[in-house]
Amino acid sequence: MFEGLRERLQTARARIGSSIQAVAAPQKEHGEAPGLPAQPLHSSATFADKVKTFVIDRELIITDSELAGALSDLEIMLLESDVALTVTDAIVGHVKRDLVGSHRRIGQSVDALVVGTLRRALLDVLGKGFDLSEYIRSHERPVKILFTGVNGTGKTTTVAKVGAFLKKQGFTVVIGAGDTYRAGAIEQIDVHAERIGIKIIQHQQGADPSAVLFDAVQYAISHKIDVVLADTAGRLHTKANLMNQLEKIRRVMKPDLIVYVDEAVAGNDAIVRAAEFDKTVGADVVVLTKADMDSRGGAAISIAHTIGKPLMFLGTGQAYDDIMPFSPHAVVEELLGDG
């Protein structure tokens, strides 16, 4: 899914690399000239060594203006890949901070320097991943997981996928049908639950979602079930009453983990709403859906960075097993790797 971004980053890497090399070439000659006449004064046995050290270990200072062109190219490339403006600024800023004024030894490969910098910048931006199975193993059962997000991001489908994923890992799971607002939502999750063979707790449409989810938790406790997955109705972060309802759900069911679901194709607004959800009910981890629509993957990076929450899964298709645990190191390697 990251092919687009990967391609662009490879180009950026070459671009910055060449810009540094272009700078390095003339400076080498200038640098040596004033240095040489001084050498004979220190005539000693180590003279040859000194020259060697001087030439090879001499450091070059990379300046701001030399990188400007390459950095602005990098900026446009990131923006085109759906990386949000602020995150783009963060990455470009990081690369600039790392490279400008840095001392590059002549013997050091330009490519390694650039890759190292980009890798640090991306890892910095991506944050840590999140291992759900590990989390469940290390916590008291039942582990209660609440899914939140705006309308149409794919919460219900994600609940089903995570249910299938956990079932495959050997956990017992119950789903609480907390979307009692949208017409057809209960039927939708009911069908999903039946297909993947998971027990579902539901009330009628229009019921109090807190009550449904409370029942789901009670069911899990009395049946010694490992995980409760709580679906909720999608809501826009601007609707105060709906956000209050979500806050009530949180109070009543006391979730261990709040999962914020958004789509990988969302633009800059993703940041605004993620922050708003985080503020009202909190968000421990993030799931990004519809990642298969976006070959560029920039939104994933942006959201992970801005909420400052680890990314747990990526949804990559319509089937139940189209879900991918997210590992920042693997992604960065994929983006910058040579293969």
Partner: protein
């Protein structure tokens, strides 16, 4: 709605308005700010680049028309280029037709289908809905529930798995109805078999319109997705959904530019009535700090009966307490005051927040007080002196302060409406210029 985009654009324009001489550097600065504003609103990068290039060249090359300052000249170009960016309004005809809904998963097709059915039903057409989404569990239940609320027939079968066969049955079952809306499964452009399916659906239904539903939050992907949908079935209208959030809808703008179509409707809430017609001129004006007057009038026409307030005559200037009495009642019917106000072209004029605070209970109080006024007082509020005030308060069982508050509110409304006069309908560039100049 679109608040953030218009704030950043206004900031960018304000910077230019502060300049005394428009030189190359000033234009460059504006263009850079515009770029950032549009990019952060998710407008496609290439589109932004084209736009800024055109503005820069035109601002520097074209001589300003006589009588227009250099600064106004640049503003006019910005406006024109933005209008060009969002293309033209699409005409929605009230005649028998078939509408095919297309869009990505979760963009809001099903909800919008029901909203559209309601819209055309209110305009007096016999509407029918076909659910061609045989993939998503619950899709049929969702559409049926929504259609039942508005008494629109809905054809579908949750057990079926062939959308083409199902649609064929639906078409023959509904052949007596005037307007058919076909809701389809969510799909994205990279799913070749699903794209093939919608091509066949389009052939089968011979749809008059193929509307693409786009989430206001959709990012840079919008262009690409819209292009592929356009190639497949020829999109002739775009509907932006979830515009009541903070998303700026820039992605939808890119989609419009890509399909060379217009934005037909915008969805702005969860209830079935929350669908508005889109008017690009108004949209741009609003982007630049003016309101969308036409949408308000259209909405008002539906909510107000013939004998109630005539919005247009009110705008013309005569505004008495009697008008306010009727207006308070009418506004109550139209929905929350704040929503109405956000549609009025108030521009940069910041309304005091207490204008919004007229809650329904307060409106009732106001009405009781006005009931204690004579008809001469209602027609000419300037007559009301302190002894008349005493009498009114006594008669209404209210305090003097309440009467004063009512009169204050009346004056505020009067001033507001005075400010609106003369801008209705046509976009008034001159006034806009003045307003921008005034912001320095």
């Amino acid at each position: 709605m679109l608040d953030s985009l218009s704030t950043s654009l206004k900031d960018a324009l304000k910077k230019l308005a502060g300049k005394t001489v428009v030189d190359r550097a000033a234009v460059d600065e504006l263009v850079k700010d515009l770029q950032r504003a549009l990019l952060s609103a998710d407008v496609n990068v290439k589109l932004v680049m084209e736009l800024s290039k055109a503005i820069r060249t035109r601002s520097l090359d074209e001589p300003p028309p006589k009588g227009m300052g250099v600064r106004e000249h640049v503003l006019r170009i910005v406006y024109q280029e933005l209008v060009r960016l969002i293309w033209t309004a699409t005409d929605v005809k009230l005649e028998p037709q078939t509408i095919l809904m297309a869009g990505l998963q979760g963009s809001g097709k099903t909800t919008t289908t029901a909203k559209l059915a309601r819209y055309f039903q209110k305009k007096g057409l016999k509407v029918g809905v076909i659910c061609a989404d045989t993939f998503r569990p619950g899709a049929y239940d969702q559409l049926v529930t929504l259609c039942q609320k508005i008494n629109v027939p809905c054809f579908g079968n949750p057990e079926a798995n062939d959308p083409l066969a199902l649609t064929r049955q639906g078409l023959s079952a509904f052949k007596d109805l005037e307007l058919l809306i076909i809701d389809t499964q969510g799909r994205h452009a990279l799913e070749a078999n699903l794209i093939q399916e919608i091509i066949e659906l389009n052939k089968l239904t011979k749809a008059t319109h193929r509307w693409l539903v786009i989430d206001a939050a959709l990012g840079q992907q919008a262009s690409e997705q819209a292009r592929r949908f356009h190639e497949a079935i020829g999109i002739d209208g775009v509907i932006i959904t979830k515009m009541d959030g903070t998303a700026k809808g820039g992605g939808a703008l890119s989609a419009v530019a890509e399909t060379k179509s217009g934005i037909v409707f915008i969805g702005s809430g969860e209830t079935i009535e929350d669908l508005d017609r889109f008017d690009p001129d108004g949209f741009i004006s609003r982007l630049l700090g003016m309101g969308d007057l036409r949408a308000l009038v259209e909405r008002a026409e539906e909510a107000i009966t013939a004998d109630a307030v005539d919005v247009t005559s009110m705008m013309k200037g005569k505004f008495t307490l009697r008008d306010m009495y009727q207006q308070l009642e009418a506004l109550n019917k139209m929905g929350p005051l704040k929503q109405i106000m956000s549609m009025l072209p108030l521009g940069n004029m910041e309304l005091p927040s207490d204008v919004y605070d007229v809650t329904s209970t307060k409106m009732v109080r106001y009405r009781i007080i006005m009931d204690s006024m004579t008809s001469i007082e209602l027609d000419d509020p300037s007559l009301i002196n302190s002894s008349r005030m005493q009498r009114i308060a006594h008669g209404a069982g209210a305090t003097l302060d309440e009467v004063r508050e009512l009169l204050k509110y009346y004056k505020l409304m009067q001033r507001t409406l005075k400010g609106l006069r003369g801008q209705g309908g046509k976009f008034n560039m001159q006034r806009l210029m003045k307003r921008f100049s005034g912001m320095q």
